[in-house]
């Protein structure tokens, strides 16, 4: 049991709080590294947040005055190195880390700069899909930018030649790590574009930590990739985040094998495709030809069907023309004229006319042409007979009949008047003497009245 005088006098709260503050005083001007979370800006310009590592958390505070001085304001999720002291807020009973300086740690610094670079490039459209160059379907040669030693180059060659046995490969050895790496990569990219030995560039590295991959996050390399006229494929390994090179590159692969498959088609596939296409073309052509053959045979059949009709039509037309021609022909016209003559012939020579008409009617049953020709011949004969008949009549009617018995008639050659007396003419006068057959032209020699 404690006696009252021995009993410890209790601390007042303030006393204890001050005691705690005093105890914490050595924890001043110290450096604290941790990730920021719960960043809040207070109304008086101060910031309050928490700093944590995997296991622990401590509240932190930046006074407005210090906040104005610090070069970088912490952001959630970022790791910083804070300088400051630990203080105990007696009023609220809380411990806080009061930071007066904020700095990135080495990696944090790089990451922050990287984020800034990404923002800038993105603002310039460097990551835009439409900016990216198209990979050639089948390059003449592939440029490989990588470390000359190591598995990467071996894997790439292997993959490319496995897919396309005689594909050209141009290797540009580059530093992929360390301070000189960005310049080395950028220069090699420039050379690729100048030399134009290849149609596509593979930028490869076997992965690594953030620091090891640093070169591929530099603006120098990013700009060199953006400036390349040849498409750039990145294959930087799968152990870290996407690099800026991945973002600005034209195609992004993880492994050398993937990149090899991306830049070079499989020759066997190409050949198979070509064969398949060849077969399709053959099939297409065969179908086309057979279609045409079918169409032609249709047409031929139609022609064969139409031909007799066409021939018949033409034959009919020719027949019509022939009959028209016959109707209009001089033969027919002569025939018509002969018709008139035949009338006269009938009148003069009824028996002959009757015979002619008989034969005409008999002929009428025969074919038109021969009928016509025969009729015509008949008519010619008839006409000739008619003319003969007329000649006989002329002879019969002419005074010449008397002459046959040895008389003659003498006419004046100019006037045609018959000389009945020697006084009708005189010497030197031309006369015509008609005899039983023919005439004599004569000159009067002597006149004896």
């Amino acid at each position: 049991m404690l006696k009252p005088e021995e009993a410890q006098r209790p601390y007042t709260v303030t006393e204890l709080a001050n005691e705690i503050r005093r105890e914490l005083r050595p924890l001043t001007a110290l450096l604290l590294k941790g990730e920021v979370s719960g960043m809040k800006q207070g109304t008086r310009g101060h910031y309050s947040f928490a700093i944590r590592d995997g296991q622990s958390l401590i509240n932190a505070f930046i006074y407005a005055d210090d906040a104005r001085r610090v070069t970088t304001l912490p952001e959630d999720g970022q790791v910083f190195i804070f300088r400051g002291r630990v203080d105990y807020w007696t009023q609220y009973g809380t411990i806080r880390f009061v930071a007066d300086q904020v700095e990135f740690d080495e990696v944090g610094k790089l990451r922050a700069r990287l984020e800034e670079l990404k923002r800038r490039l993105e603002a310039q459209g460097a990551f835009a899909q439409e900016r990216k160059r198209k990979l050639p379907f089948l390059p003449r040669s592939v440029a490989i930018l990588t470390s000359p030693t190591g598995a990467v180059i071996h894997d790439l060659q292997e993959t490319i030649w496995e897919r396309y046995p005689n594909m050209g490969i141009v290797v540009y050895p580059v530093q992929v790590q360390g301070a000189s790496a960005p310049m080395s990569v950028a220069r090699a990219l420039g050379r690729c574009n100048e030399e134009r030995l290849a149609d596509v560039i593979v930028l490869a590295r076997g992965g690594g930590s953030f620091e090891e991959m640093y070169a591929f996050n530099t603006e120098l390399v990013a700009r060199a990739i953006l400036d390349s006229r040849l498409p750039v494929v990145t294959a930087l390994g799968h152990t870290s985040d996407r690099t800026v090179a991945d973002l600005v590159g034209d195609a992004e692969c993880r492994t050398p094998t993937e990149a090899g498959a991306r830049v070079v088609p499989r020759k066997a596939d190409l050949i198979a495709h070509l064969r398949e296409r060849g077969r399709r073309v053959d099939r297409e052509i065969a179908q086309r030809v057979s279609r045409e053959v079918e169409r032609l045979s249709h047409k031929r059949q139609r022609v064969l069907q139409l031909l007799p009709a066409m021939v018949r039509q033409r034959a009919e037309r020719i027949a019509r023309a022939a009959s028209e021609l016959l109707r209009l022909s001089p033969i027919a016209q002569v025939a018509r004229r002969e018709e008139a003559l035949r009338d006269r012939t009938r009148r003069v020579e009824s028996a002959a006319a009757a015979r002619l008409s008989n034969s005409s009617s008999a002929l009428a049953s025969r074919r038109a042409e021969s009928r016509l020709e025969r009729a015509l011949a008949e008519r010619f004969a008839g006409a000739t007979r008619a003319l003969g008949h007329r000649e006989q009549r002329i002879v019969a009617l002419s005074p010449d009949g008397v002459l046959a018995r040895g008389y003659s008639i003498t006419q004046d050659a100019e006037t045609g008047s018959v000389l009945r007396s020697a006084n009708d003419t005189h010497v030197e006068r031309r006369v015509r003497i008609r005899l039983g057959s023919g005439q004599i032209g004569a000159r009067v020699d002597e006149v004896e009245p």
Binding site: R337, R390, E391, I394, L397, S398
Partner: protein, 67 residues
């Protein structure tokens, strides 16, 4: 002028001359002239007829050769 006559015209003229002669009212001179004229027309008719016959024969031949 008489050479320009067609067969029909010549035939008509021939018939005219024959009719004149048949009527028998002609003077001897006129009868002789009519006989002379009739002979001329007869000749023309015969020539025309002969020419037509020849024409038709030639035509028939050429038709045969073109077929």
């Amino acid at each position: 002028m008489s050479q320009d006559l067609t067969y029909e015209q010549a035939l008509e003229k021939l018939d005219e001359q024959l009719k004149l002669l048949e009527d028998g009212n002609l003077s001897l001179e006129a009868a002789l002239k009519a006989v002379d004229d009739a002979r001329v027309y007869l000749k023309i008719c015969t020539e025309r007829l002969e020419a037509a016959r020849k024409k038709i024969e030639v035509r028939g031949e050429s038709e045969a050769t073109t077929e």
